[in-house]
């Protein structure tokens, strides 16, 4: 069960449209290391984990990722608001526009649609947490790459906020991994799968 809050997690107020940069930032909506995949990954993995701390964190981080994809969508929406056909053609936004007009669609910067093959839910807490730690770093690198291309401070500000959250999530998932390992045989963490064999 979820409740909606009618506010963004961090404000997005962009006054200058920029469809070229929107096409890059949309990758954090539906790209391989984007927020949609992040949310689906954690919310899928949580059901079979036998540890309450891990189930709690996957639920709460998976929920926060939904707020992040809303921020990314708000950024893309504001960067492409009220564009004219001329602006669309000049900026190279025409290839997106022909399929989606100015609607929000989860895709990578390359134009590839979001797919569940970006994520894994393996049913083994050690395996899943390593995927999660890697995912947070991949998202952080993507935000670093975006920040090298974007100069508008109104866009950089919320992107920096999102980048910092990746680092906090990485720390928390690291703590989860330690909790899981503390519950296993320290001579051989992989002797059995606590989600399946226990």
């Amino acid at each position: 069960m979820w409740n909606y809050e009618k506010r963004l997690q961090y404000p997005v107020k962009i006054t200058q449209t920029n469809p070229q940069i929107a096409q890059i930032i949309i990758t954090q909506y539906g790209g391989p290391d984007g927020e949609l995949g992040a949310s689906m990954r954690y919310l899928s993995q949580r059901y079979t984990t036998p540890y309450k701390e891990v189930a709690g964190l996957l639920t709460d981080v998976g929920t926060e990722e939904l707020a992040h994809l809303e921020m990314i969508c708000a950024i893309v929406y504001q960067l492409t608001k009220d564009l004219t056909p001329e602006e669309i053609q000049r900026s190279g936004f025409d290839k997106y526009y022909v399929d989606h007009t100015l609607g929000l669609y989860p895709q990578a910067a390359s134009g590839t649609a979001w797919t569940a093959s970006y994520i894994q839910s393996k049913g083994d807490p050690i395996t899943d947490l390593h995927e999660d730690l890697a995912a947070e770093q991949k998202a952080r690198t993507t935000y670093d790459n975006i920040l090298r291309l974007v100069k508008d401070p109104e866009v950089c500000d919320p992107i920096r906020f999102l980048r910092e959250r990746e680092i906090v999530h990485y720390q928390r998932f690291g703590e989860c991994l330690r909790i899981v390992q503390d519950n296993l045989d320290s001579e051989n963490f992989f002797a059995f799968n606590p989600s399946f064999d226990a």
Binding site: N3, K6, R7, L8, Q9, V12, V61, R172
Partner: protein, 89 residues
Amino acid sequence: MNNQPNRREMLNTINELSFSVLDIQLFLDTHPCDEDALAYFQECSNARNQALKEYAQYYGPLTIDTATASCSERWSWINDPWPWQEGGC
């Protein structure tokens, strides 16, 4: 109307308190017995709930649980701008 609190300031307060609540929530998930963190969570969570109620009285509900706090004869949930729109939250 002069004693009506500033909308942007109220929103900033809600955003800051909500961020504190969420960040300490994640910390508590992996440190469930940390007494300082628990006390900080209580403090921020109470202040957030109060701020959400006050906001709803003046500017409409941000959550469905505060929809009754805004005294309106109409369904106010859809009235104010959505968060991604100009003038939204």
